[in-house]
């Protein structure tokens, strides 16, 4: 893994380090992007993290950033290259969502998060692979290509933001954006050994994020360290008139919260997240991280989230119900791929969607249609909403006595490509520690906490209350710094 080029080591180059180099004049955005493109060319053949790369456009953006700097501008992310999950709309770029059905679609507008990053000076280098419409945990559900785990090419990078995770973890991105509906940022981050943040629901505008499950989706950063996650969160957070679910809550300087210690903090261990079925190597890595947090001054306390066992069922009812409506718009009428040879509109829908969607997307649309249909709506959808409230209350109670909760991100490290493809139920269970944060609308952070004997990364999940990003970033940062220094 040698991604050194022109003095850049993209295996560890952070946004804040590059920021300093650009500000000091030690390098330019064009130099950074040029060598990043070289690193991608060298490594992405085996990782297959990127689905779209437009080198010319990326270099033009970098040159523009250098010009702005020469003119005396110093926007916070000026000239910083970012990889963007292929689920976000960026003007003039394709946005396939990993699906054949969006073949040929070119986004006519910027997602709000993208517009904010553009304003802050970021350079959009390329688009990363994902499970089709963010449905999956391995990126094997992409219709475009299979992405490989940079730590073991035979293994999955996780998903659905697997392309972004593999790019950051594999040293071919400085930082990336993902989206997280049930763990799609945190789980691939943990599989690929990078940091992933799912912010509180409503913290970052969803406008321009192709919707999977509207009440669960959030955009978030995937980075080499916690400071970068704090920087990117600050650049994207804030209320947006285009997203009614975004919340008008002040955006602090998240990097100011990174104090380096955990004195006075109480961290909870939800007993339901340390259960049989968790891989022993994962559990011991997480327990070691917990011990480290205690050393850093935190008080550790056992807590209970009693409705955890219902989370997966609840999640899959709500997420698929919303998805069944959200994905109805992909019909070949206005954009994307349209099937040939249809005899009437309904036939056209049938053929277009039969050809355009992959099996997992179809499975979830059918599930979601079923749980909303007449006669079943109350038993499934309404019940799930009630349980969702109970899960939210579990967290509210836990956060009455804790500043944050610590747990594994996933029960296991990355598995082999193809290993679980034919066992969706087993795959769904992998979401059990992450989907709860989406159901409760709270924030969660995944931070690397060591590797298994086989060298596979393990992630520590730090969950915080709604708009408690400062707390979880502080915990993640203190832990990360302590590990780096030991």
């Amino acid at each position: 893994m040698d991604n050194e080029s022109m003095g850049f080591n993209f295996n560890s180059l952070t946004v804040h380090a590059l920021q300093e180099q650009l500000q000091s004049g030690a390098t330019t955005s064009v130099e950074a992007v040029t060598s990043l493109l070289a690193a991608i060319a060298e490594r992405d053949g085996e990782l297959k993290a990127y689905v779209t790369l437009d080198a010319e456009d990326a270099l033009a953006q970098a040159a523009e950033a250098d010009r702005r700097r020469a003119d005396g501008e110093d926007a916070p992310l000026l000239g910083i290259p970012l990889a963007i999950k292929d689920v976000l709309n960026v003007t003039g770029q394709p946005c396939t969502c990993g699906s054949h059905i969006l073949q040929g679609y070119i986004a006519p507008y910027d997602a709000t998060a993208i517009a904010k990053l553009r304003q802050a000076g970021a350079v959009f280098v390329g688009r990363t692979n994902m499970d089709e419409f963010a449905m999956g945990g391995t990126t094997e559900n992409s219709s475009l290509q299979v992405t490989h785990n940079p730590h073991d090419l035979d293994r999955v990078p996780g998903g659905s933001s697997g392309g972004s995770a593999a790019a950051v973890g594999g040293g071919i991105a400085v930082a990336a954006l993902g989206s997280d509906t049930g763990g799609s940022i945190r789980q691939p981050a943990s599989f690929c050994g990078c940091v992933g943040l799912k912010p509180t629901y409503g913290r970052i505008s969803r406008y321009g994020l192709t919707a999977f499950a509207s009440s669960l989706d959030q955009i978030g950063p995937m980075t080499h360290d916690v400071r970068d996650a704090a920087l990117l969160l600050g650049a994207m957070a804030g209320v947006d008139p285009m997203d009614s679910s975004s919340v008008d809550c002040p955006v602090p300087d998240y990097t100011a919260a990174l104090s380096g210690d955990l004195k006075g903090m109480t961290l909870g261990l939800p007993q339901e997240y340390f259960v049989k079925g968790v891989d022993p190597e994962v559990e011991s890595a997480v327990r070691a991280a917990v011990a480290r947090c205690r050393e850093l001054g935190a008080e550790i306390r056992e807590v209970s989230l009693p409705h955890t066992e219902y989370a997966i069922a609840t999640y899959y009812v709500i997420a698929t119900a919303e998805a069944s409506a959200n994905l109805a718009r992909f019909d070949g009428v206005r954009y994307g791929r349209r099937a040939e040879g249809a005899t009437d509109p309904i036939d056209m829908y049938g053929k277009t969607r039969a050809q355009g969607f992959g099996p997992e997307v179809k499975r979830r649309i059918i599930l979601g249609t079923y749980v909303l249909s007449g006669g079943y709506h109350d038993a499934y959808y309404l019940t799930a909403q009630k349980v969702r409230t109970l899960i939210r209350r579990d967290f509210e109670q836990a956060f009455e006595e804790c500043d944050a909760l610590l747990s594994p991100v996933t029960p296991t490290p990355a598995y082999k490509i193809g290993e679980k493809v034919n066992d969706p139920l087993q795959m769904y269970l992998g979401d059990m520690f992450t989907a709860t944060a989406n159901l409760a609308g709270i924030c969660g952070l995944s931070v690397p906490c060591g590797t298994t004997a086989a060298g596979l990364p393990v992630g520590l999940q730090i969950m915080g209350p709604a708009f408690g990003e400062e707390q979880i970033l502080r915990v993640g940062h203190a832990y990360e710094q302590a590990e780096a220094g030991s």
């Binding site: 192709t210 009428v333 206005r334």
Partner: protein, 474 residues
């Protein structure tokens, strides 16, 4: 044993807002296809709706005008079905918690006591695009997609096509008074669907209903109901049964045709719209909106009779269109002659508007001009025949009546000396008529008046002429 029909109406009204329900696109009518569109109203990936507060206000305003309860909490839901003119293949609508509940519309049919048709609810939703079919292909114009649409649902509370018509007319009048929409059926900014069933008069349960769509005029709705009632009765009397279905009215054949039966009915799979927050109103907000409501048409009719001393018939005609009523009241106040104001508007004005298919808002006769014209007649400056000429000129080209009178030399001659000379000349020239008059033929006096008016080119004051002839011959 005779049959009784039961009718309920679902009326869609496009609201008069500048921008669409969930985006900033214009609601303007008649633009080239697909020019009033954006990622939101085209259902692009990632686009999200933002609620138009004005549309909420106009819906609540309609509800207040119609006596509805306004719940403080209301929400939007997704209604799923596939159709090419629906950009997202779900419509953002309201399922179980609409903006307005209950309410009613008062109707009065001739020879029957007035009654109130109960409303079930009013909810707010987005309109869909418009499919267009060509020889080899079809297209969709999405300019209309996302225009705010209010749906007013009546209870199954009407029993004859005449009642349904009266309901629609009264509803439209109230909505025009509320100034919430244009309510033009031909332009499609007001549309109605009907639910109809028939049952034996003594039956305790309603019959199986059919829903009828595609009625583009009030008359169409009337005929569709007449046809459908007859069809259902005939079917039942012939031993058949009515199936629950949706039928389409064909104005060319004047018949209804089955579109789909209950078995193919949509399962709309409603669930709360996660992209929008619920609508939460306060009592204070609703009170403010209530305080800004205009008078209801029925109240205005009563007030006009009382305040202006005009007959109830005049009041009904003038108040039928709010803008005509407003025009009348302004002219009546300014001229001080309500009866003359009413006469001018009801006869000349409405006739010419009808002939030329104009709206009162397009008329060139200003309130000041009509009041001025009435004043000229009242002061004896102008006789009524000349006044009609002046009105015609005002209607055609606008302007100031005084100036028109001066330009055309129409000032009435009321000078006794001048008239006396003309009368004497007429008496001298028509001895036969003078004799006829003296023999009791009063008609002869009218002939003499006519002669004077002809000689004066219509300028003599006809009343003075008549009086003078009678005096001089008696």
């Amino acid at each position: 044993m005779s049959w009784i029909a039961t009718i309920g109406l679902e009326t869609h009204v496009q609201l008069r807002t500048e921008s669409k329900m969930f985006c900033a696109c214009s609601t303007g009518f008649g633009a080239p296809p697909n020019t009033h569109v954006c990622p939101v109203c085209l259902g692009y990936p990632g686009a999200m709706p933002v609620m138009n507060r004005r549309a909420v206000e106009l819906t609540v305003r309609s509800g207040l005008m119609l006596g509805c309860e306004i719940p403080l909490y209301s929400k939007f839901d997704r209604k799923s079905y596939f159709y090419p003119d629906m950009p997202k293949n779900y419509q953002i609508s309201q399922f179980d918690q609409p903006l307005c509940e209950g309410g009613g519309v008062d109707i009065a049919l001739e020879g029957q006591p007035p009654r109130r048709i109960a409303l079930t609810r009013i909810h707010l939703e987005e309109d869909v695009g418009k499919s267009m079919h060509f020889r080899q292909s079809s297209g969709v114009d999405f300019n209309r997609a996302g225009v705010p649409l209010m749906e007013i649902v009546s209870d199954p509370d009407m029993h004859t096509p005449a009642e349904a018509m009266a309901y629609l007319v009264a509803l439209k009048q109230i909505l025009l008074y509320a100034e919430v929409g244009d309510c033009n059926l031909e332009k499609g900014n007001m549309r109605c669907d009907v639910n109809i069933s028939v049952a034996r008069e003594d039956a305790t349960e309603l019959g199986t209903k059919a829903e009828i769509k595609n009625m583009n005029t009030f008359r169409g709705a009337f005929h569709a109901l007449e046809y459908e009632i007859a069809r259902q009765i005939e079917t039942l009397e012939g031993g058949g049964r009515i199936v629950q279905e949706t039928r389409r009215w064909d104005p060319d054949t004047q018949m209804t045709y089955s579109m789909r039966t209950k078995e193919d009915a949509h399962d709309y799979r409603y669930f709360p719209e996660p992209d929008l927050m619920p609508v939460e109103l306060t009592e204070a907000q609703i009170d403010r909106w209530r305080a800004g409501l205009p008078e209801l048409p029925a109240a205005r009719r009563e007030r006009m009779v009382e305040e202006y001393g005009i007959p109830p018939y005049d009041a009904a005609v003038l108040a039928a269109d709010k803008r005509v009523g407003d025009y009348f009241e302004a002219v009546a106040r300014q001229s001080g002659n309500a009866k003359a104001s009413s006469n001018w508007i009801m006869t000349e004005m409405l006739r010419l508007l009808g002939e030329q298919e104009l709206e009162i808002s397009e008329v060139r006769v200003t309130v000041e001009a009509l009041a001025g014209l009435i004043g000229l007649v009242d002061h004896g400056t102008l006789n009524s025949n000349s006044a009609k000429d002046v009105f015609a000129e005002l209607f055609a080209n606008g302007g100031d009546p005084q100036a028109i009178v001066a330009a055309k030399g129409l000032t009435q001659v009321s000078d006794t000396g001048a008239i006396e000379g003309l009368v004497q000349a007429a008496i001298d020239a028509n001895p036969q008529s003078v004799e006829d008059f003296r023999n009791g033929k009063t008609k002869a006096a009218k002939f003499l008046v006519g002669q004077v008016m002809r000689v004066s080119k219509g300028k003599a004051n006809p009343q003075m002429v008549g009086e003078m002839i009678e005096r001089m011959l008696s």
